[in-house]
């Protein structure tokens, strides 16, 4: 099972969990399974064309997926996936 860090804005969809364990061979498969386990998450991450939205970065361990193999990036059980959306708050 791969660990997925859930950003604060999505935690209301994951029963307030900040980390969840998800099975999958590739990054795309993990995110899809995440959406199946926690309804509502998928449409927050993916746009209509099935691409990760442009204001969200997804990292496998320390590196952003676009610098790897995108959604095809293979993931191992010990990997950590981080979903990082743009946040505007500062005041």
């Amino acid at each position: 099972m791969t660990t997925v860090y859930i950003p604060t804005p999505l935690r209301r969809l994951t029963a307030n969990q900040s980390k969840v364990e998800i099975q999958g061979e590739t990054l795309g498969a993990v995110l899809k399974a995440l959406g199946e386990t926690y309804p509502g998450v998928e449409e927050r991450i993916f746009d209509d064309r099935g691409q990760v939205k442009r204001f969200i970065n997804v990292f496998v361990n320390d590196d952003e997926m676009r610098t790897l193999q995108g959604l095809d990036t293979p993931v191992r059980p010990e990997d950590k996936i981080s979903i990082v959306p743009a946040m505007a708050g500062g005041s």
Binding site: F55, D62, D63, E64, T67, M87, A88, G90, S91
Partner: protein, 421 residues
Amino acid sequence: MSGANGRIFPATSEKDTMPILTRDQLLARISERVPETTPREVHDWLQNGADVRVIDIRERDEWIQGHIPGATHLSRSFLELQIEQIEPNRDARIVLYCAGGVRSLLAAANLQEMGYTNVLSMIGGFNGWKNLGLDIEIPRYLTPAQRERYDRHLILPELGEAGQIKLLDGKVLLVGAGGLGSPAALYLAAAGVGTIGIIDYDLVDRTNLQRQILHGEATIGQPKVDSAIQRLHDLNPDIEVIGYREPLTSHNAFEILRGYDVVLNGSDNFPTRYLVNDACHMLGIPLVDASIFMFEGQVTVYQPADPSRGIEGGPCYRCLYPDPPPPGEVPSCAEAGVLGVLPGIIGSIQAVEAIKLIAEIGEPLVGRLLMYDALAQEFRTLNVRRDPDCPLCGDHPTLYELIDYEQFCGVPAAPVTPSAT
């Protein structure tokens, strides 16, 4: 340990090995084993870029009156204690000078005892140098009051007096005097960053006080910039604080940002974030960016490339977030809440980065996104890269002027306030 006769040490044998010398006898003896050089020779070495380290061993009040350009100051009273921090290599060529060439002779002998093999004393000292009409450098220095105030910085080798002078010459603009801007402003002012600009057109209200530690009950209802100026001047009257009580827009951004060394982003909306990013990139100003939400924060530094200073640069906000989220998709702190301490942590990290950039020390948080989760009490650092397709900083940029950021972010045209809630 005193014996029956009350003596601690056997004095007689010491007396045999330690002859009594007059001042002149001591100097004569030392000059036999310490080689000397002349101001002209030292000048030529420095001009030709020869491998030589010139150390001024006079007292501080002599040094600040003027010194040999390129010399390092290390007063004789700390010479043996600190020489290894300046020159650990025992075979390096070291020239010591004082005012007239006597103290440097004695000091050179002390370094020889530490194993320095190539120490020279400069004949005639700094007076000899000046008598030849050679150039001197008059250093900038801190006043006694500044030395007292910044004492804990001055004893840090990474900062010292030179670093503190850089901070005093530094200019930082804070976008927003709110959650992030409050701790950042306080620490930057305390650190002696000489010019702090603050742009915010909001007024202090009671809901701010849970986290915006610049303000207090006494300033409720006042403009935040006025409240900030009062508080910062109380903390450190040595600095200048400039308030801009206006919204930051595409029309005034260049005028306000130009001239600052670092911009620190504490705004609370996407249009201002894209505006500040674009303006900073176009002006070549490093941007210490951060955002907070509930219990979570992000910090990074967007540093434009500057080949003339050897700065490679990193990604910008648009590399990370090419498009803003549609309005309403990401809730604000006013809607979802924020832990009051959270901006204290994140804004303080921003202050650290601003100080590092100004003092040119350490590794800036460029190309790395620092994530903080207060509930898990966890920091993570993620790598972020410049996007070659970025319209602003990519290989083929298309964005050369500021745009309409409300329209870009799809929000109705409303005044952009850095810290409205």
